[in-house]
Symmetry: C2
């Protein structure tokens, strides 16, 4: 019915990083500082992967990365992303028995709590002072049923230790974190059980550390010209060197429908990974395309489903899981 | 003990906008599109000001403004600001009997709910399923006392209708909103009762609508050069034309201590408003300076106070209110 993409998993395993000059992507990690928290990050991750035994694991990246324009950062470039796709997908991976490493932009939406943050309601609008027990704060009756359902799922994930929340802010933190996750998975030999589901909106451009001004840019000098370098194509490195046995799903967000599929195809050809999920900014909550080198399939919500509050991720995630099963079968045999 | 600044309020009243060529600041409003919600915004504001009768009013601006780099926005430049200063100050204005118009960046911190959002705790961490009443969600015992206090203050502000939340995202939305507030206050003759407390981190640069690309910038072309124009100095316009009878407090955030006071003085001389509150990114939660043309005063928390969780806004706001009383006295007599 569908085929997992292009790359021959045996070939993937054979690819070697040795005997090659340092790639541009590797130089990035030498020329930009690693986040201070990286060793602690790696410790938590290893513990999480070990605790999750033989469970399948989805690494879901979510939210936008920032590009600081100053060393003591006041100004930065950001990518629009509330983190809805990532946070919602994470819940469906958990419901389908996966453990989830949720690498997300700090303060973007989180699985489960997303139902109550970033809404027009403020936190306190869900609360009332109890009438029967004055002095006691409780959840307003009209939110009780839904909140109980969400709370139970959240507490279950906590109890089972199946959800690891790892935050980032800058594009550099994101890239160091992603590499660390990939290398840790290989080291622990859990890589074939894993899928990378790269829903974060990662900046294509950055300001090299060497060019960052120390202090806030002053506005007295008239216009501002910001000169950014392209971020190295780390996805190539991820596929070839860091995580050749992990199934990799990337996202392509465009605003211009006429170029979406061709951009997705180009990415597949360039990076040689397994699946690109394409979406348009305008319709991303009700329609996506799954693009492999062989075929393009469209998945969308009917108007009916949309009205009932069904989420497109409820369709996306099981489809990804089917393809992950096929991939795993191939890589392991 | 201290004096309100420079400007002679009688002179302020006499200033006229008529018979002058359109200023650069006014052209900005012709060349960039007004937010669609502006008429609704003005209606809500007028109703709020009317309902608040003779109460003093603080217009607190809060959070950072964005500068979209594309018309269908994926990328934008942002200013670092969680909105802590604004959200915290708004609470102390309310406690001191003011009505508060809270013009804030969407999803930045809000008065009262700020105690529970943007924390390391997720929303659901405050909740438990009741043991005595299974199926009922309540607030965890250990958060009850503080949450009750915060909830009561929040509900009181709602009941008294003393807090109006007005969100913005882009710098253009912010500027249209600010002008609308100033002009509405003058129209309703409530301006002398008002203070503008401009804590938002407003971009100094923007991309004119005429130069915005329609679609997402493609990364295939190598480096990215972003060319931004300086935002017109709207503060001058606010002081001279839109709100000459309103006391205006601006903030100056720097990262370099050696230029903070001189930058604050320069702003006062240029815009002729009443007070600049200066702060450094690094120490902004425990120390500020109040700069007028006559003098600079420092306010800070002792280590003891900081340890007890006292907030610097508890000192800042009453100091501003004292100066507002003096200002009001002068303008009205």
């Amino acid at each position: 019915m569908y085929t997992t993409n292009a790359i021959n998993p045996e070939k993937a395993i054979d690819r070697s990083v040795a005997d090659q000059p340092p790639a541009e992507e590797d130089l990035y990690f030498e020329q930009n500082p690693a986040p201070e928290y990286l060793p602690e990050f790696e410790r938590k991750l290893s513990e999480f992967l070990t605790n999750n035994g033989t469970r399948k694991v989805a690494v879901v990246t979510s939210g936008g990365t920032t590009v600081p324009l100053e060393n003591n950062t006041v100004r930065f470039i950001d990518n629009f992303s509330a983190g809805t796709r990532g946070a919602t997908s994470a819940e469906y991976f958990l419901e389908n028995g996966y453990a989830v490493v949720f690498l997300h932009r700090q303060f973007s939406l989180l699985p489960y709590s997303r139902h109550y943050t970033h809404s027009t309601n403020c936190f306190l609008d869900y609360m009332v002072e109890s009438e029967t027990e004055p002095g006691s704060v409780k959840v307003d009756e009209k939110y009780q049923v839904q909140m109980l359902d969400v709370l139970r799922k959240y507490k279950q994930a906590q109890k089972d230790n199946t959800l690891l929340l790892l935050p980032f802010t800058t594009v550099t933190q994101y890239l160091f974190s992603l590499r660390c996750i990939a290398l840790t998975m290989s080291k622990l030999h859990v890589d074939t059980r894993c899928v990378f589901y790269l829903a974060a909106a990662v900046s294509d451009f950055f300001m090299p550390t060497s060019r960052l001004p120390q202090h806030k840019i002053q506005s007295s000098g008239g216009e501002l010209v910001v000169n950014l370098d392209p971020v190295p194509k780390f996805l190539k490195r991820l596929v070839e060197a860091w995580a050749p046995r992990v199934m990799i799903v990337s996202f392509k967000l465009e605003t211009d429908e006429s170029i979406l599929e061709s951009k997705a195809k180009t990415a597949l050809e360039r990076y040689n990974h397994q699946l690109v999920i394409g979406n348009l900014l305008q319709t991303r909550k009700k329609e996506v395309i799954f693009v492999t080198l062989e075929e393009t399939e469209k998945y969308s919500l009917t108007d009916e489903e949309e009205k009932e509050g069904k989420e497109i991720e409820e369709i996306i995630v099981p489809e990804v899981i089917k393809r992950h099963d096929v991939w795993q079968e191939k890589v392991c045999n």
